[in-house]
Symmetry: C2
Subunit: 380 residues, 2 copies
C-alpha cells in the first residue's frame, strides 16, 4: 500500500505527487454519456466491463446513466464490487474450482449474479454449488467466436444450454440467460475493414450458436459481448442485444490507434499517468514512471501533447527522447511534469490504489475527488 | 484488495486458491544462504534490493543473514518498509520534487537513510530539504556505467561529490557515501562473455568516477551496485564494495535464462504463480492466470516441469499448448493445477497483496505462513 499522503479535493493538479493515476473527469463524463446515448439510440443494453475500471464509484455512474449492471472477469472482483454496493454483476468467465464456485453461489444469494460456462463439467459443478447454497444464478453459454481462448464451439451451444436448463428453477438454480460471444483479439485490429470482417465472423458464429440452441427447443434470451474496438460494427449485425465495452470510458493509447468505425462515437483520453522528470541527460530525460506505473502489454504509453517518444526504462523509469522530426520541441527540464497516456487501461488501473479525479483539465485544474479502486488486485 | 479468504498455516498446497503468488520457502532459504555466503567469502557487503520482494519480513531475513540493510527505488517504498520496522534503507534513485524531498528528509530523521543524486540541482534541493528537517542523510553520486538512464558522466562525479561535501555535517545534512554504479541492461545479456564485458566496462567507468572524486580531494568510501546477472563478474573487478542484487532470492525465468557466471552460485526458482485450468479446447488449455497475475515485460512465464508453452491470453487468461516435441506429455485437464515461473519477479510481486509461503515443496507441501507485501503499489 502506498502510504504517501493522498491529494485532497481542491488541491491544484500541479501539487499531485508523481507517479499518479489521474482521471480527467470532464472527458470521462463525455465518454460516459456518448456511449450511453449510442446504446439507447441503437436499442441495445449496455453492461460495461468493470474489469477495466475496477471501481464501484464508476460502476454507479454507469448504472445511473442507463447501464444494466456491470461485467467482471473474476469472482473476487464481483465480491469486491458487491461489498461496495453494486448489486447486478456478470462474471463473464468460467469458474471450475469447487471452493470458488461455493463463493460464487454464496454471492448469488446476495445480489443478481450471472456467470459463463463452456463445458458440461462446468455446468454440473456450478449446478451443484448453487444447489448447496440454495441460490439462483443466470448462466450464459460462452461460444468461441474467433479468439481461440475460452468458449465452446457454436455447434455445442444447444447441448450446453440443455444442460443448463436441466438445472432450472425451481428444482435447480441455473437460469439460462443466453450466449456469451466476445472476440477479444478482434478489438485491436487496427484497420476498420479487418475489424468489421472479424465482427461479422463473430456474428455468424453467434448466430450458429443461437440456431443450435433453437434446435434444442430452447429460447435464447440474449447475446452479450462486444468491446470498444468492435461495438460499432457489432450493432450493425443485429445479433448482440447487450454490449460489454469497457475501455471507451478512459480510452487508452492502443484503442485510440484503431481506425474509427463509421457511426461509432469517438472517445477522448480520460486516463493519464502524471510523471515528473527526475534525471536529465544531454539527449534524453528520465521520468519517474516506469512499467510499475502503467502496463506495457499493449505497448508503451504516449507522451501527451509533447513531441517526445517514451522508451521503457524498467519498473521505475521512463526514457524520453525527442521525435526525429521534432522541429521546435525541447526536452523537458528536471522537475517538469510529463503526462502519459497508458497503452492499456485495465492492467494500468490494476497497478494503483486510487484514482485522483480532476476537474478543469490537466493544466490548471483541481482535484475533485479521490476514488478507491476496490477491485484492484482481485486476481482470483 | 483481494477479499478472497487467505490460506492459513497448515493448509495443504492443493487447497490454495488460484491464481496465487507462492514462495517455496525451502528454495528461498537456500538462495538466501548461498548469496550471503558468497558476499562473506568475497569480502563485500550485501545490500539486497527490496524493490524485488517489497516485504519487510524478507528484508529482516536478509539482514539476519548478514545483509547491511536494503535498497529501494521509491520514497514510498522506503516509507512502507520503515513503517514495518526496517531501519537501514538506501533509496538508490534520484528524487527531485520538493514535497517528496521533504518526506525523504523526515524519514532520514527516523532511520538510517541513504539516497542517490546525479545533478547539481538534485544535490541543492536535497540539501535544502534535510536542512529544513534538521536530519542527516548518506548520499551516493550516481554514475551512468552503461545503461544510459540516470547517472552523471563519470568525469562529473568529482564535481558532484564536492557539492555534496559542501553540505556536510555539522553545518549541512549530506554525508558523502560513495558512488552508485548499477548497469541495469547488463544484467540480462544472455551470454557470459557479453555480460562479463559489460561488467568490465561498468567497472572502468566506476574507477573513472573514483578517480574524479579523488582528484577533487575527496575520499570515496564505497562503490555500490551490481545485480543478479553480473555480481559474479563484478566482484572479480574489485571495484564494488557492496552488492545490490535482489532477484537471486526468487530467480525468475529471465535470469535463469542467462548463461551461468563462473564461480557464482546457481540459484533455484523460489517464486511461482499457482494457476488452474478453467477451460479446455481440443489442442489448448486455458489457465486462470494472465498478465494481471504475472508481469510480461521480460516475456511470458515458463510452465514448471511440464512440456507446455504459455501464450499470453490477456489480463486474466493464459493459453497452454504442448511443445512441438512433447512426445509423451498431454494437455492438463479441466481443474488441474499448473505452476508458472514468472518472467520477471519484481513487477509480478507488485501485482499481489501477499505471499503464500509453503514448506515441503509445491507437490504435497503445506502453507507455512502468509506474508504481507508492504511495499506493493508504492510507485511514488
Amino acid at each position: 500500500m502506498n502510504v504517501a499522503s493522498a491529494p485532497r479535493p481542491g488541491d491544484p493538479v500541479e501539487s499531485i505527487d508523481t507517479p499518479a493515476l489521474v482521471v480527467d473527469l470532464d472527458a470521462m463524463e463525455r465518454n460516459l454519456q456518448a456511449m450511453a446515448e449510442f446504446a439507447r439510440s441503437h436499442g441495445v443494453r449496455l453492461r460495461p466491463h468493470a474489469k477495466m475500471h475496477k471501481s464501484a464509484t464508476i460502476a454507479r455512474l454507469q448504472i445511473a446513466a442507463g447501464a444494466a449492471g456491470v461485467c467482471v472477469q473474476k469472482t473476487s472482483e464481483a465480491e469486491a464490487l458487491a461489498a461496495a454496493g453494486i448489486d447486478d454483476i456478470y462474471i463473464s468467465n468460467e469458474v471450475i474450482d469447487a471452493a470458488k464456485l461455493a463463493r460464487v453461489a454464496a454471492l448469488a444469494a446476495k445480489i443478481r449474479l450471472a456467470i459463463a460456462v463452456d463445458s458440461v463439467e462446468g455446468v454440473e459443478r456450478l449446478a451443484a454449488a448453487v444447489a448447496a447454497a440454495g441460490s439462483v444464478i443466470d448462466v450464459f453459454v460462452e461460444v468461441d467466436v474467433g479468439h481461440g481462448r475460452c468458449g465452446a464451439p457454436a455447434a455445442a451451444a444447444g447441448q450446453l444450454a440443455q444442460r443448463v436448463v436441466s438445472h432450472a428453477p425451481p428444482e435447480g438454480g441455473l437460469r439460462f440467460a443466453g450466449v456469451q460471444a466476445y472476440h477479444g483479439a478482434a478489438q485491436h485490429l487496427r484497420g476498420g475493414e479487418e475489424r468489421e470482417a472479424a465482427s461479422q465472423h463473430a456474428a455468424s458464429l453467434a448466430r450458429a450458436a443461437q440456431a443450435s440452441i433453437g434446435a434444442a427447443g430452447i429460447a435464447c434470451p440474449l447475446v452479450t459481448g462486444a468491446g470498444t474496438g468492435t461495438f460499432g460494427f457489432d450493432v450493425a449485425s443485429g445479433v448482440w442485444g447487450e454490449l460489454q465495452a469497457g475501455s471507451y470510458l478512459f480510452m487508452d493509447r492502443d484503442y485510440a490507434d484503431n481506425a474509427a468505425a463509421p457511426g461509432a462515437p469517438r472517445f477522448e483520453h480520460a486516463l493519464f499517468v502524471k510523471s515528473r522528470v527526475m534525471s536529465r541527460g544531454a539527449a534524453h530525460a528520465v521520468v519517474d514512471a516506469g512499467h510499475k506505473s502503467h502496463a506495457l502489454d499493449s505497448g508503451p504509453p504516449r507522451v501527451w501533447q509533447r513531441e517526445l517518444a517514451y522508451a521503457n526504462g524498467g519498473d521505475e523509469h521512463g526514457i524520453l527522447r525527442l521525435h526525429a522530426d521534432a522541429s521546435r520541441a525541447s526536452l523537458p527540464a528536471l522537475g517538469e511534469t510529463v503526462w502519459l497516456v497508458p497503452g492499456h487501461c485495465d492492467p494500468t488501473v490494476n497497478l494503483h490504489d486510487r484514482y485522483v479525479v480532476v476537474r478543469g483539465g490537466l493544466a490548471g485544474g483541481v482535484v475533485a475527488a479521490v476514488w478507491p479502486i476496490e477491485a484492484r488486485g482481485c486476481v482470483s
